[in-house]
């Protein structure tokens, strides 16, 4: 923490995309190339600062960045009244997941969105969403969370409806907007409840005095439902398939990452604010039930889909279930001796699955978008034989698909193995359900692969997609491959610090 730039990197992770979001319309006045360049520079600088922050967290230790503090790096009692950003292992894990996906989606959108008008606004919305998700993840202040939640909602709804000459995308955006806005208002209500009780908004300050009374429980339930809804966990998942299907292909992974970001925030609030005041066994049990429902309902709804993006959307709902399940098991063991036996392992599995899921889901959504780009249809019954003309997309889809299905040696297998191992010790039946869901997922990926890519060439495809789109998918594939080849390294360097940041036993 010698250099001030390193200390302030959490602020830069937000500041850079916010600045560049409003530079792109200005650059558009000069030339289209400059606009694209400005967008790319903003994206790369954000990724750079994520890397700087994560490197500092992994090599030294985490810190809290307090806005407007006179002394940097020092936490006084006044710090809790200021806006505080936490740069710890968990924030690093989450921002890395967001950064990788944003990079993939950003590079992909150059060619994919070509020919659309108003692209400078698209880039503005894209960078605002990026800032919003990172803000939600980094902040340690409840009201600041609400602000970033709304920034994310507004910007990502704009992205969903960006192709506004199609009625369905506007319909999906309006649906998402209703869900997000009402969710956001109830989040504000629960923040008001907590503020009224404790007179402070900082997570750590509330955690010191939280007593688990009725008001706290009401606030906790509202937060759980709202963030679970944004994360598309099952009873609250109805918006997700429409939104993922109808949003422009290049940004679908980015909409999915806002869900994952909400899940990160939910876990941080549960672990930091409420773990000492509620029964962790009961709350963990609730997360496990939500997880099982998401896994099972998600995958069974995916069975009957014939639209490729809708099918992957339901698979994505089912993957959220794995994380809820694993983290639920970890959370429920926090206060007893099982944490050392398998609770920490479950958390490792859950968090590793989150970063894996962010990457391979982005890869799957992007390759599905490549199918739509090249053939103009999403209907699996009409598709066929794409492997003849789109060999690279076929390969990328296969790697992403096998990873989501948890086939060894791909990254999805490494994280799922950790989950199976730990939840088996919690209760064997959970591991059996998780395995069954995984097998059905594999069958579904097989179905999509067989229907869309194998068989005789039907002449549907206009040929392979442009190079920048291949590059974007290639970057994500490379990340999946690296995670597959060195799972031990990734777990030790990236996932374990996140577990240690949240799962500290008293």
């Amino acid at each position: 923490m010698s250099l001030d730039l390193v200390n302030a990197s959490p602020a830069f992770i937000l500041g850079i995309p916010l600045l560049f979001a409003f530079l792109t319309p200005l650059a558009d006045r000069i030339s289209k190339e400059l606009r694209d360049a400005v967008f790319m520079i903003g994206l790369l600088l954000t990724v750079l600062f994520v890397a700087v922050m994560s490197y500092e967290v992994f090599t030294a230790e985490g810190w809290a960045y307090v806005f407007g503090a006179e002394e940097t790096g020092e936490i006084t009692r006044f710090s809790f009244f200021r806006i505080m950003f936490v740069a710890d292992g968990f924030a690093a894990l989450a921002t890395i997941t967001v950064a990788i996906t944003a990079l993939g989606a950003g590079i992909y959108s150059f060619a994919f969105m070509e020919g659309q008008t108003g692209m400078e606004k698209f880039y503005t919305l894209f960078l605002l969403t990026l800032a919003g998700v990172n803000g939600m993840i980094l902040t340690a202040d409840l009201f600041n969370l609400f602000v970033w939640f709304e920034v994310t909602s507004i910007a990502s709804c704009g992205l969903v409806a960006f192709i506004n000459y199609k009625g369905k995308s506007v319909e999906a955006a309006l649906k998402y907007m209703f869900i997000s806005v009402i969710g956001g208002l109830f989040l504000l209500l629960s923040i008001g409840l907590l503020y009224g009780e404790y007179g402070i908004l900082n997570y750590f300050a509330i955690a010191e005095s939280v007593n688990g009374g009725v008001v706290d429980r009401v606030a906790l339930s509202i937060i759980l439902v709202v963030l679970g809804m944004k994360a598309s966990s099952v009873p609250m998942h109805m918006w997700a398939p429409d939104v993922y299907t109808e949003s422009p292909g290049a940004v679908t992974p980015f909409i999915a990452i806002t869900s994952l970001g909400s899940l990160f925030v939910l876990f941080r609030i549960l672990f930091v604010v409420f773990r000492y005041s509620v029964s962790t066994a009961a709350l963990g049990g609730l997360l496990i039930i939500l997880g099982l429902l998401s896994m099972f309902v998600g995958v069974s709804m995916a069975l009957k889909q014939s639209d490729v993006k809708r099918l992957i959307a339901y698979l994505s709902v089912s993957q959220i279930g794995y994380m809820l399940l694993a983290v639920g098991v970890g959370f429920s063991t926090l206060e007893n001796g099982d944490y050392a036996t398998f609770g920490a392992l479950a958390l490792e599995g859950g968090f590793f699955h989150m970063i894996n899921d962010g990457v391979y889901k982005a890869l799957l959504f992007l390759s599905a978008a490549a199918i739509v780009y090249s053939t103009g249809t999403r209907n699996l019954n009409k598709l066929g034989g794409l492997a003849h003309r789109m060999p690279y997309t076929t390969m990328f889809f296969l790697i992403g698909g096998l990873s989501i299905a948890g086939i060894p040696p791909l990254s999805g297998f490494s994280s799922k193995l950790l989950i199976y191992k730990s939840i088996y010790l919690y209760h064997p039946i959970l591991a059996i359900i998780a395995l069954v869901v995984s097998i059905i997922t594999f069958a579904l990926i097989g179905k999509v692969f067989y229907n869309a890519f194998l068989g005789p060439d039907l002449g549907l495809s206009k040929g392979e997609v442009p190079t920048t789109m291949l590059l974007a998918m290639g970057i994500l594939t490379a990340v999946v491959v690296v995670f597959s080849l060195f799972p031990n390294y990734v777990v030790a360097e990236i996932v374990v610090p996140a577990v240690e940041a949240l799962g500290v036993t008293a």
Partner: protein, 117 residues
């Protein structure tokens, strides 16, 4: 009597939020549903402002303030932010409805469910 007086704003908050939720859930017209969202917004804002109120305290403006206790300033700041955000979200939702009306020719929420087809 006094405690009832202080409870009144919170009763009003509950009434507003339930009214808004009812409108969103049971009205078919999209514009009316957005009005419902706006009613919930006002309910939540009223809740935040009521939290800050203390009897006999003055507004938290430091410049040449009398030497008496002040009401909590934070909820007012929160409410201002929330109002601004509320305007933005309402405007965006209404613009979505305008586009939807152009495409589908209706603002009936039962007939704007074509994503599943």
């Amino acid at each position: 009597m006094n405690s009832l007086f202080y409870a009144l704003p919170f009763v009003m908050v509950a009434v507003l939020i339930i009214m808004g939720l009812y409108t969103v859930l049971f009205k078919r017209n999209l514009i009316k549903m957005i009005m419902g969202v706006a009613i919930i917004q006002n309910g939540v804002n009223l809740f935040l402002v009521s939290l800050a109120y203390r009897e006999g305290y003055v507004a938290p403006i430091w410049t040449s303030a009398p030497d008496v206790d002040m009401v909590l300033p934070t909820p007012h700041a929160l409410t201002l932010t929330s109002i601004v955000i509320g305007v933005a979200t309402t405007a965006l939702m209404l613009s979505f409805v305008i586009m939807l009306k152009k495409h589908y020719g209706t603002t009936d929420s039962h007939e704007t469910r074509r994503c599943k087809e």
